[in-house]
């Protein structure tokens, strides 16, 4: 990786400095009230280096990722602007990349996007003009070659730290590392993984990543999500596509008295953080406390990630 920063984002600086990075997540509201984001920001501030702003996650209409990112920056925090391929063609995607960068966004996460079937507008037409790997390639071309996909020159290229997601637990398992290699070849800078509950399987994936030397070309942040309750664990195990929750974790949550389940969920998340910190090739964690933002600080604290470095 070259000396000069690609984006100069805090997340990039932390990772480049060899520090164990922490990212969080903030879902925009289903309305136009900026106070909702500001409240979440107050809970998350200083608890991580940067925070994903989701882009109409689960295909439910929410405040735009760009606008929410700007509100977060006004609160003195660094967003990772998510962008899905489901809702925009390449014209809109490139336009929004320029817009986001102009407003100060420095990190971007390139995603395919959940199918609209899961959301509140299952009747809508999906786009998928690009897929997530082609989106990575597009951002890199804009940033490094100063060119649009169509080939024209960009005056004032966007400086973005390029992220993507990877799900080590989805099928077919044997192509999950080759798929990461494709993302690396396309130009991704960092990866946030799907929530890790099955640590042995993640370790197996990570070993393949290290064997191919991919961890030296891309920063890998392991995804950690605390269970709020046994009910949530069961829901994630059975209803969320591509999620792998081992039986023993379900049992551990089930055997915990109801009033202590939230605490146990946090314990599991913290234990996962410790394991990830020790695992070769893992450069950080991505804490996704879904609609439970107040717990990010607690997990980060207990895992020994605080205070965050000031770079």
């Amino acid at each position: 990786m070259s000396e000069e920063y690609k984006s100069g984002s805090k997340l990039e600086k932390v990772l480049r400095a060899g520090q164990f990075a922490v990212t969080g997540e903030c879902g925009p509201p289903r309305g136009a009230d900026p106070e909702v984001i500001k409240k979440k920001c107050a809970l998350l501030k200083d608890k991580a280096d940067a925070f994903n702003i989701t882009d109409n996650q689960t295909s439910v209409v929410r405040m735009s990722s760009i606008a929410s990112s700007v509100i977060m920056m006004q609160e003195g925090m660094e967003p990772v602007m998510q962008m899905v391929c489901r809702d925009r063609n390449r014209i809109a995607i490139q336009s929004d990349i320029l817009g986001g960068a102009a407003l100060g966004v420095k990190n971007m996460l390139c995603l395919s996007g959940d199918h609209q079937k899961f959301g509140d507008h299952p009747q809508s037409k999906n786009v998928f003009d690009l897929d997530s790997i082609q989106l990575i390639h597009t951002v890199k071309k804009m940033r490094d070659e100063h060119k649009f996909l169509g080939g024209d020159e960009i005056k004032g290229a966007p400086k973005l730290f390029i992220g993507a997601a990877e799900n080590p637990f989805a099928d077919p398992f044997e192509i999950r590392v080759p798929r990461l290699a494709k993302k690396v070849a396309a130009g991704v800078d960092f990866i946030q993984t799907q929530c890790i509950f099955n640590l042995p399987k993640f370790e197996e994936w990570m070993k393949q990543v290290v064997d191919r030397g991919l961890h030296e070309k891309v920063y890998i942040l392991g995804g950690v999500t605390p269970f709020k309750s046994f009910g949530m664990a069961k829901y994630m195990a059975n209803n969320v596509p591509g999620m792998d929750v081992p039986e023993e974790l379900l049992k551990r949550m089930k055997d915990t008295p109801k009033e202590k389940q939230a605490e146990e969920g946090i314990n599991i998340a913290v234990e996962t953080c410790f394991k990830l910190k020790e695992m070769k090739g893992v450069a950080g964690v991505h804490l996704m406390a879904i609609e439970w933002e107040e717990k990010v600080g607690e997990i980060a604290q207990k895992a020994g990630f605080l205070p965050r470095p000031q770079l």
């Binding site: 395919s112 999906n126 998928f128 003009d129 082609q134």
Partner: protein, 222 residues
């Protein structure tokens, strides 16, 4: 072939409201093969319409006719002599056939009795599946004969999304993950190295995004 499904009966009844003499026109092509718009289906639909309209006290006269293909001028002309006798055509062809009928006969109402659903084939009798999206730039060489554009719910070109579970698509546990099928085929052909080739952004001009398409055999234009 082009697969079509008959529209809900009430929708068809609504379309022919106010018409007293109609032609129910079948097509001998794809929709005959997929059992929705051929000679037999024309008879069934016509009987149902007559009965329903009789019951409403608004009887309708129906000419039943099926031509070889509704997407071919040679056969379309064959119904011309019957048109003075009717005031609407209810076409049981695919959407292409309906369009051809409408373009050919100005002043004649033409309604679709089918929803044209997809291009595919039959797995077994009466069981049809989509296999092609007519994108106009066939990629099946790279994907071992399984089409990600038609069969991946997100038309992803560089591999499965994170929702592929046990060979099934995230949108429905009855739907195969196209990329699982592709990977299985590539493995069986010992061509897994093809998976890591980057599929560049697609040129959708050959798809309908480039506007309505045509194919011209110059050697037949003299």
């Amino acid at each position: 072939m082009v697969i079509g499904e008959r529209k809900p009966f009430d929708e068809i009844m609504k379309m022919i409201e106010g018409h007293n003499k109609i032609m129910v026109l079948g097509c001998g092509g794809c929709v005959t093969v997929c059992l929705t718009g051929g000679h037999d289906e024309v008879r069934v639909l016509s009987s149902q319409l007559r009965m329903a309209r009789d019951k409403d006290g608004k009887p309708v006269e129906i000419i039943e006719k099926t031509i070889e293909r509704q997407c071919d001028p040679e056969y379309i002309e064959g119904v011309q002599a019957l048109l003075p006798e009717v005031d609407a055509i209810l076409s049981m062809a695919c959407g292409a056939g309906v369009n051809f009928m409408a373009e050919t006969y100005s002043g004649m109402a033409v309604y679709p009795a089918l929803n044209t659903t997809f291009v595919g084939g039959s797995k077994k009798e009466g069981y049809y599946v989509e296999r092609c999206q007519t994108c106009g730039d066939c990629k099946l060489y790279f994907t071992a004969g399984i089409c990600p554009i038609a069969r991946c719910s997100k038309s992803l070109l560089n591999g499965p999304c994170g929702g592929s579970t046990k060979g099934k698509c995230e949108i429905d546990s009855e739907v195969d993950c196209a990329w699982q099928l592709i990977i299985d085929r590539l493995k069986s052909l010992n061509q897994m190295d093809r998976y890591e080739d980057f599929m560049a952004v697609n040129d959708w001009r050959s798809n309908r995004d480039g506007g309505p398409r045509k194919m011209i055999r110059e050697d037949f234009q003299r």
